[in-house]
């Protein structure tokens, strides 16, 4: 089928969208920043597109619900960045989202799309893992983000299922966090490796991006951090990484970076004196 002949349906309600997506071969499209690229490259050849933008009224929101925050799937990265609630109560997500693309990409790309594409290099995902996020499906059920992600581009969803939002507990005021991203240039870069870290007394979260088939949490690193052992945490991160070699970087380097980015993040959060580096000072 010529691309010019692929229909685009624009449902007005979630129910209608779900019905359309039950047709085999259809795909949802929101901001299009991933979908359109894959379509043009011929990687995705849907029989029809289901354009979700008319559902923005329903699915673009940032809600506070006591300790919880809930973000609608069609919320754009720009909207997340502009949100005082996100900046203050989920600063980790704000830091991660800031590294996505450039302004126009952030205006188009959505949090739901980033989840749906399920790329291990999706920059909002390590933050969501570190926030123990739950993904809302069809507006009714929830599934833990780690449970949802099966592999690159693969999700534990049925035909007709639609990601409608994501929810997580707000970060505590006394915690510190950082998102460390390593790309091949300063902006508009695909992650070679990334680390999302949260720390509070007795609590640590470490999630690694782009060093395994999915984003991964590193419980050993978290335990080491709770015990105050930065070097052990970095070593655990390197141990947990299962990176690949590609045109951008070798697996060996990515593995080393999983640890070093964690160290860098710790130094940024806690000050360099509180962290003992591994690998030594090259000088």
């Amino acid at each position: 089928m010529l691309q010019a002949d692929v229909p685009v349906y624009t449902p007005a309600t979630l129910a209608e969208a779900r019905q359309l997506l039950q047709e085999p071969g259809t795909r949802p499209v929101a901001g299009g920043t991933d979908a359109m690229v894959r379509f043009k490259d011929g990687v995705w050849r849907p029989t029809a597109w289901v354009n979700l933008l008319r559902l923005r009224g329903e699915l673009a929101y940032i809600r506070e619900d006591g300790d919880w925050l809930e973000v609608g799937a069609l919320t754009t990265f720009s909207e997340l960045l502009a949100s005082r609630v996100v900046r203050e109560r989920a600063p980790l997500l704000a830091k991660a989202v800031r590294t996505v693309g450039g302004p126009a990409i952030r205006n188009m790309g959505t949090i739901g799309g980033n989840i749906g594409t399920a790329s291990p290099a999706g920059d909002s995902l390590p933050a969501l893992y570190a926030l123990d996020a739950e993904v809302l499906v069809n507006g009714v059920t929830t599934i833990g983000i780690a449970e949802l992600m099966l592999g690159p581009g693969r999700l534990k969803l049925q035909a007709g299922d639609l990601i409608t939002g994501v929810r997580f507990r707000a970060q505590a005021p006394d915690e510190v966090c950082t998102f460390e991203k390593l790309g091949l240039r300063a902006a508009h870069a695909i992650s070679l490796a990334s680390v999302a870290v949260r720390l509070a007394p007795g609590m640590a979260r470490v999630a690694l991006g782009a060093v395994a088939p999915t984003v991964i949490r590193v419980p050993d690193a978290e335990a080491a951090l709770v015990a105050g052992h930065a070097a052990a945490a970095a070593a655990a991160a390197q141990e947990a990484a299962r990176p690949i070699s590609d045109v951008r970087a070798s697996a060996e380097y990515r593995r080393a970076m999983a640890g070093n980015l964690l160290l860098r993040g710790l130094m940024r959060m806690l000050g360099p004196n509180l962290v003992s580096p591994i690998g030594g000072d090259p000088r």
């Binding site: 010529l2 691309q3 010019a4 450039g102 390593l182 091949l184 240039r185 300063a186 902006a187 508009h188 870069a189 695909i190 070679l192 045109v247 951008r248 970087a249 070798s250 380097y253 080393a256 970076m257 070093n260 980015l261 160290l263 860098r264 130094m267 940024r268 360099p272 580096p277 690998g279 000072d281 090259p282 000088r283």
Partner: protein, 777 residues
């Protein structure tokens, strides 16, 4: 009219800026078209294969397809190439790279054209791939061309090399590798072809050599060039990448089969990357000798340039690199041996700097090491060895024109980046980062070089109201020459810049002034316009009128020709360098840079914080334009040094799009401070030389020097990606590729190259200039 200098040296606003900023259809790929059809090119599926069969029947039968063409439809010479036509227009016997073209389609829509490509059946017999330039020289390597894989071998020897190395206090010997940088001009190759009702073929296509393009198209069509008109300016960036034919040949062939309808081709970024030319990747083994007092004694180098499947400008690129193998320094002894080699790795050709950045990084890095080993200040050591006017360059060229070295070095020394380097390095923000400062000095031969016809020509037409139209074939590819030409004309004619319209790149309007390459456009166009303007002034005098407006009226009344023409030949060196076609150059641009970098020791990331960029322009025609070129050259140099490489494995392209082939963003570029040095060039227009290529040349060595200064590791392979820097910092043995095995391969390559040279029969292949007698290699 006035003789006062009112326009030269003034930062006149770009005359082309408003229309471009408004989005007017000024580019060739933006032209509004009446009833267009759309062309596509079928590219190879293999990097090296025999073609057994091409069947276009199904594609031709697809509704909406207008024509499908193959090699059988090339009426003239089925080959093109600036120096030798070794690249097939449409392949017939075999393919040698992924970008090779096998068939052309014109259709009602781009998508139908794409669908038709899928219906063309080609049977291939894959052949062994040549993907390593050094391996390509070796005996037994598969052949890319039947004439052999060595396109050009150039050897220059001078002085007592062996003795110099024996007597040296310091000898530094390393192997360096530079990447296959892609031009990544934002406007990909494209354009429109149309057979006009008067029987002429018109081609609108951004390009760098309108008249030569016309000749190449005429040759493949078997036409009189006068029947072809190319409009080729402005271009949305070129940098050398549109010097060769890009799509003109395809447009020409298709336009003969579309019934007079305009046919448009505009390459996708991916197709552009795969099919377009690149910067030649170089391997440079360089051995440099210095005396205990710091005097440079000898320079020895073995250079291999990967030109890919076809020559394009590979030979001249190699030779320009060799000409600059000693940089801006006196070397009494020299032994350089260079190879330009065919492989199946796409195709390389002209790119800003033209081979010089590839060898300069080796030279300047070696010099830094000499300075360290002698305990010398790197800038001071360079000063000691600078070529002065009247000296011989490393290849033995008497430097008789304006030499900017001394002034350039002084400006560098006084730049804040260098002068305040201690404080700047100490101002590091994060404790896991280290800062360093490095420098690089360069020169760059201007114009095409000895023995290559190089000339300029212009027309000036007097218009009603006393306005002027200046015609010159040299294109505006972004450098600002359109504005500079208006300034030259206004200055010479004594009018306002606003009264001058500059028409560029149109073979139907102006005479042939050659290419917009080799930093020749300000010199060539400026000189041609000045010479032509004298004739216009003479015309005015002959009318006896007081003003150009009145002169126009008088001229019309008397039936005088109101369009005047002028031309000149480029000055060239008296003596050629034996064995090195096109060498030497006669006039050189000079430049130097200091770079301040910050290295993240945890990741190997290098951020270039600031660059002081010194350029000797001769007279600077438009200082703001010079600054822009300087800033842009540095940005491309940052890309070359730190992030850019078209990765080709087994002949296939791994990063053809802009998400994987990355160029610097707004967040990656340093703050650039430009220092213009004006060393008057007597032979140039108003004392000008030109400077477009200069600023990309010293950036890579300055950055490499700064990385060393920061973290104590020398980079030997560009780009210095975070991974490479990190691995080098960790002392990873694979970080230096200079192993005994590589040295053995180099030695074998030298022997094989010499043997191939000796076996080459005269008149076969590219007419290779004979080198001096080879000693035992």
């Amino acid at each position: 009219m006035t003789n006062q200098q009112t326009w030269i040296g003034k930062s006149v606003h770009r005359v082309d800026a408003p229309a471009k900023l408004k989005g007017e259809p000024v580019y060739m790929t933006d032209r509004p078209l009446e009833n267009p059809c759309f062309g596509r090119v079928l590219r190879s599926r293999y990097p090296h294969a025999r073609i057994l069969r091409i069947d276009t029947a199904k594609a031709s039968a697809l509704p909406g397809v207008i024509c499908v063409l193959t090699h059988k439809d090339v009426p003239g010479l089925n080959g093109f190439g600036i120096v030798i036509p070794d690249q097939p227009v449409l392949c017939f016997d075999k393919v040698r790279m992924m970008g090779d073209a096998l068939a052309l389609v014109a259709a009602e829509t781009p998508e139908i054209a794409a669908a038709a490509l899928d219906l063309i059946e080609v049977d291939y017999e894959p052949l062994p791939i040549v993907d390593d330039a050094l391996a390509a020289i070796m005996p037994g390597s598969p052949l890319v061309h039947e004439t052999g894989n060595i396109h050009l071998r150039t050897v220059i020897r001078r002085g007592e090399v062996a003795q110099a190395f024996a007597e040296a206090a310091v000898v530094v010997d390393h192997v360096y590798f530079t990447p296959r940088q892609a031009h990544m001009f934002l406007e990909t190759e494209g354009g429109v072809g149309q057979l006009m009702p008067n029987g002429e073929l018109h081609i609108w296509c951004p390009a760098q050599a309108a008249f030569r393009d016309r000749l190449q198209v005429a040759r493949l069509l078997g036409w009189d060039p006068e029947r072809i008109r190319e409009y080729s300016s402005p271009s949305g960036g070129a940098f050398g990448g549109k010097d060769e034919l890009t799509v003109q040949h395809y447009l020409a062939l298709l336009a003969l089969h579309t019934g007079g309808r305009p046919v448009k081709i505009h390459l996708s970024r991916e197709e552009s990357t795969v099919a377009g030319i690149k910067r030649h990747p170089f391997m440079v083994q360089m051995r440099t000798a210095a005396a205990a007092d710091g005097t440079f004694l000898a320079q020895e180098a073995f250079v291999v340039a990967d030109t890919g499947a076809y020559a394009s400008l590979g030979g001249p690129v190699l030779n320009l690199a060799i000409e600059h193998i000693g940089g801006v320094y006196r070397f009494p002894s020299l032994n350089v041996e260079g190879y330009c080699v065919y492989t199946n790795n796409g195709i390389s050709g002209a790119f800003r700097g033209f081979g010089v950045p590839q060898v300069l990084v080796a030279l300047e890095s070696n010099i830094d090491e000499i300075a360290r080993r002698l305990g010398r200040d790197p800038l001071d050591l360079r000063r000691q060895n600078l070529i002065q006017r009247g000296d011989l360059s490393a290849i033995g060229n008497p430097m008789t024109t304006g030499v900017g070295n001394q002034a350039v070095l002084e400006a560098l020394e006084n730049s804040p980046t260098w002068k305040e380097r201690t404080a700047k390095k100490a101002a590091v923000t994060d404790p896991w980062k280290r800062r360093g400062v490095g420098i690089g000095l360069c020169m760059q031969g201007l114009g095409l070089g000895k023995g290559i016809p190089d000339y300029g020509a212009a027309v000036i037409e007097l218009l009603p109201g006393g306005k002027f139209k200046v015609g010159i074939s040299i294109q505006e590819i972004g450098t600002g020459n359109q504005t500079a030409y208006a300034q030259f004309a206004a200055e010479a004619l004594g009018c306002d810049v606003a009264d001058v319209e500059v028409i560029q790149g149109d073979t139907g309007y102006s005479a042939d002034a050659g290419t917009v390459t080799a930093t020749r456009s300000v010199f060539t166009g400026g000189k041609a316009i000045q010479i032509t303007a004298e004739k216009m002034v003479a015309l005015l005098r002959s009318t006896g009128a007081e003003s150009y407006a009145a002169a126009y009226a008088v001229a019309r009344e008397r039936g005088l020709e109101t369009k005047v023409r002028g031309s000149f030949a480029w000055p060239e060196a008296d003596e050629e360098i034996p064995g090195a076609f096109g060498l030497p150059h006669h006039i050189y641009g000079y430049g130097a840079q200091a770079a301040l970098v910050e290295v993240d020791t945890l990741t190997g990331e290098v951020q270039v914080l600031e660059v002081a960029s010194v350029v000797d322009t001769g007279k600077s025609i438009n200082p703001m334009g010079v600054e822009g070129q300087s800033e842009g050259g540095v940005a491309q140099g940052v890309g070359l040094a730190l992030m850019e490489d078209t990765v080709v494995r087994e002949g296939r392209f791994l990063n053809a799009n802009m998400s994987n082939y990355i160029i610097p963003t707004a967040g990656d570029v340093p703050k650039v401070e430009t220092f213009i040095v004006e060393v008057h060039e007597e032979k140039g227009p108003s004392g000008a030389k030109g400077m477009g290529e200069v600023p990309i040349v010293p950036t890579m060595p300055a950055i490499f020097g700064a990385i060393y200064d920061a973290v104590g590791v020398q980079m030997f392979r560009a780009p210095a990606t975070p991974e490479r820097v990190y691995m080098a910092m960790m002392g990873d043995p694979s970080a230096t590729e200079d192993t005994p095995a590589l040295r053995a391969r180099i030695a074998e390559g030298r022997r094989a190259g010499l043997a191939a040279q000796l076996h080459q029969t005269e008149g076969e292949g590219y007419a290779q200039p004979k080198g001096p007698e080879d000693e035992e290699a």
